[in-house]
């Protein structure tokens, strides 16, 4: 198998099985299965961390859980501001999901974020959340009026924004994960023993978490912009 073939095989998202629900044949891709694994890990971890919560004499586990809760809320809430508080829950969830997705490659799984469909779905939900937040907070009239701000001539660009923003979110995440993966594969072949490990710290761990943060940061920025 040539390098190219190997890479393509690694990059392709295989269909794992098919579901037959009603008249539909629903394919379940690798990325979806890995997402389930990630979900299971996150939910089990959440349940483990939040059992036996007390108000006084808290355990180390609870202290850790509260620390994570506070920190995550602070990271996301910093850009969202006070009015956008309601959206922190979703954004924290997305942050954890993308973060774990990006680094799950280290455990031998295919990162779901390496599948463009997953990042597309994430971006789609982000833009729906942004526009919904805008409509909810401002009302339809003001929300529509935002398209002609600051001057009427930029309206086409504002409308374009609705499509380019999710597209850029989607492609940024996908491209970064894909690029990091390709570089790592190449490094593993070119300089096998120690050096890839060092680069892995950056490309797999740091870049993965950074991209998760960037995704959430931009989404929260858009939300803040929309509800102002």
């Amino acid at each position: 198998m040539t390098l190219a073939e190997k890479l393509v095989e690694e990059l392709n998202c295989e269909e794992v099985f098919r579901m037959h629900i009603g008249g539909y044949e629903i394919p379940v891709m690798e990325s979806v299965v890995v997402t389930w694994i990630i979900m299971a890990v996150l939910i089990l971890l959440a349940i483990f961390l939040t059992t036996g919560l007390k108000t006084q004499n808290i355990s180390k586990k609870q202290a850790f859980a509260e620390l994570i809760y506070e920190k995550l809320n602070a990271i996301v809430g910093a850009t969202l501001g006070e009015e956008g508080k309601a959206y922190t829950g979703y954004l924290v969830t997305v942050l954890l999901y993308i973060g774990l997705s990006n680094i799950i490659g280290l455990f031998g799984f295919k990162s779901p974020t390496k599948d463009v469909n997953v990042t597309a779905a994430l971006a789609l939900m982000s833009i729906i959340l942004v526009e919904a937040a805008g409509i909810y907070q401002l009302g339809v009239k003001k929300w529509l009026h935002k398209f002609v701000e600051p001057v009427a001539i930029v309206t086409p660009f504002n409308i374009l924004d609705v499509f380019t923003r999710p597209l850029s979110l989607c492609m940024r995440l996908f491209g970064n994960v894909l690029g990091a993966f390709v570089i790592m594969e190449l490094l593993k072949i070119v300089v096998p023993p120690v050096i890839p490990a060092v680069f892995s710290l950056y490309f797999d761990l740091f870049d993965g978490l950074l991209q998760a943060y960037v995704f959430v940061f931009l989404t929260s920025l858009y939300i803040k912009e929309a509800i102002e």
Partner: protein, 160 residues
């Protein structure tokens, strides 16, 4: 790699929504609740402490007032005592003075009376002596009238 599949997108959306709801139920809600509860407890404790402090301050003020009252009372009592003691003293001294002067007067009167008595008895004695002497001197010249007139003359002269 880059083949858009509607089902994968739908799956991911559904997965994300499930994950979000699960996180809400298992992570955000319980921790937010427990933090709110702790805040409530802390507020309660704080309110209690504040109430206790106010109470303590009140008690301290009351106590201080009582101490001050006791102090003034003490002063009042001492002053009263002093005043009454002074009065008593003055009274006793005055009484003593009065007594003393009374005694003195009584003594003087007594002395005077005694003196007069002594003088009177001396007068009588002298008169008797004179009568005796004159009787002896005059002898034969009996006549009590003469004696008596002589005596009176003598006495008159001696008394001047």
């Amino acid at each position: 790699m880059i083949n858009i599949s509607f089902w994968s997108i739908l799956w991911t959306v559904v997965n994300l929504l499930i994950l979000f709801v699960a996180f809400r139920i298992f992570f955000f809600k319980p921790i937010a609740n427990i933090i709110a509860k702790r805040q409530e407890e802390a507020n309660e404790v704080y309110a209690k402490a504040t109430a206790k402090e106010t109470e303590a301050n009140e008690l301290a003020a009351q106590y201080e007032q009582k101490v001050a009252e006791a102090e003034t009372e003490k002063k009042q009592i001492i002053a009263d005592a002093r005043k009454s003691a002074d009065g008593q003293y003055q009274k006793i001294v005055a009484e003593a003075k009065a007594n003393a002067s009374e005694i003195k007067t009584a003594a003087a009167t007594e002395a005077n009376r005694e003196k007069e008595q002594i003088i009177a008895s001396a007068k009588k004695e002298i008169a008797d002596i004179i009568v005796d002497a004159t009787t002896k001197v005059v002898g034969g010249q009996t006549g009590a009238e003469v004696d008596s007139s002589l005596f009176d003359e003598f006495i008159g002269k001696a008394g001047e």
